[in-house]
């Protein structure tokens, strides 16, 4: 029975991926990509990784889907005409080249998959070392332990990359604020925001707090808060505005906090990024949560800052 569900899931993933690449209209491809993200979250859950499932659903399907949809809307406005309903027919030579590359890629993936299935691992050395070292950090969630304590160089660079992406988007947009879809003037939408926005904030903050001991963490919580920001922007309660000092601080908070703690430890004579205690983990995670939420919401709005809207 499990095999049937897993096979169905794998087939669905392949079909959805194909649909989002080959499908005609751009809007349809975006929707297929969002559904693909959700199905991938299901696959992660089936593999027993709730952290990855939550991150995939929140970031991959949720926030990325919103970014793609708003980019599609802006693209349509720029072009002035509705997006073409079907992609123009590719030449036969290009189609044959695409088929050849697809076959080679499939063969490579199949070969790697077969090798991975047959390989015998060295016996989970890293997992054992992690299980032994985790209680000393005061954390109960091994994923948070790896992200913030044991392999935190990768995480601090990830947060810096997010900041760099935001700076790049501001450089591309320049002084012009990207347009936003007109706020939905529907009483039902207002009621939805009034009920859902506070719940979303609670869930986002809970994911941060719970990330230390159980599935959760700064990335998942930050993505959920960014989704709340997207909701407020779409309903008109937040509007594009020039950058303010608070938002600028929020944008750099994650990188600065992580870098300051890491370099501070180096200055005190400890190894780089060796955290002094569990309080440092929670401080860094909170700063990362704020940065991720603000960055993703500002990337969606396409503006330098956000201010209160018509309310």
């Amino acid at each position: 029975m499990d095999l049937a569900v897993d096979t169905l899931l794998a087939l669905a993933l392949v079909v959805l991926a194909g649909q989002s690449l080959v499908g005609g209209a751009l809007f349809r491809a975006i929707v297929m990509f969002m559904v693909f993200g959700l199905t991938l979250a299901l696959a992660w859950a089936r593999l027993g990784s709730p952290d990855l499932a939550m991150a995939e659903a929140a970031i991959g399907a949720g926030v990325t889907g919103a970014l793609l949809l708003v980019a599609h809307w802006r693209l349509q406005r720029l072009r002035g005409t509705p997006a073409p309903e079907a992609a123009p027919a590719a030449s036969r030579a290009r189609a044959r080249l695409a088929a050849a590359v697809a076959l080679l890629s499939a063969a490579l993936v199949a070969a790697l998959g077969l090798a991975a299935v047959q390989a015998v691992g060295p016996g989970g050395i890293a997992g054992q070392a992690l299980a032994e070292a985790l209680p000393a950090t005061g954390l109960g969630n091994p994923i948070t332990g790896v992200l913030v304590v044991f392999r935190n160089l990768d995480t601090v660079l990830e947060v810096a990359v997010l900041l760099a992406a935001y700076v790049a988007s501001r450089a591309v947009l320049g002084d012009a604020d990207a347009a936003l879809p007109p706020a939905q003037d529907a009483p039902l939408a207002d009621a939805l925001v009034a009920v859902v926005a506070p719940l979303t904030v609670v869930v986002g903050l809970y994911l941060l707090k719970a990330g230390g001991q159980s599935p959760g963490g700064a990335f998942q919580g930050g993505a959920v808060l960014a989704a709340c920001g997207v909701l407020l922007v779409l309903s008109g309660r937040l509007r594009a505005a020039p950058a303010g000092a608070t938002l600028r601080l929020a944008l750099v908070a994650g990188t600065v906090a992580f870098g300051a703690v890491g370099l501070g430890m180096l200055a005190l004579g400890h190894p780089l990024l060796a955290l002094p205690g569990t309080w440092a983990v929670y401080l860094i995670e909170t700063a990362m949560l704020v940065s991720i939420a603000v960055t993703l919401a500002l990337l969606f709005a396409g503006s330098a800052g956000l201010a209160g809207g018509r309310r």
Partner: protein, 101 residues
């Protein structure tokens, strides 16, 4: 399987049937408002039956209440998004008529 598990299985089968009915409606109905009608009505009842089945199998009252909350939130989201999609599909012409009335 105990009687509770039989009941949960029956509820889940009912929920799956409602989802199937909603999807058939989505595929077969002619235009957006009728499709939305079939989808939201059938999917919400289907989700209720599946959540009820899972609540019966849940380990504690807390999990059952969380499943009820999940159903209520899904209901809220489906309702509002169906309303917004229908407005867009019918066109702003009718919405403007409602505002003037």
């Amino acid at each position: 399987m105990s009687a509770l598990e039989w009941l949960a299985a029956a509820l889940m089968a009912g929920g799956a049937f409602f989802y199937l009915a909603g999807t058939v409606g989505l595929l077969r109905f002619p235009d957006a408002p009728t499709r939305l009608h079939a989808l939201t009505k059938a999917d919400n009842v289907g989700l209720l039956l599946i959540c009820a089945a899972l609540a019966l199998l849940a380990g504690s009252l807390r999990q059952a209440l969380l499943l009820l909350l999940i159903w209520l939130l899904a209901l809220l989201a489906a309702t509002v998004s169906a309303h917004l999609i229908a407005r867009h599909a019918i066109g702003d012409r009718d919405a403007a008529g409602d505002r003037e009335a």
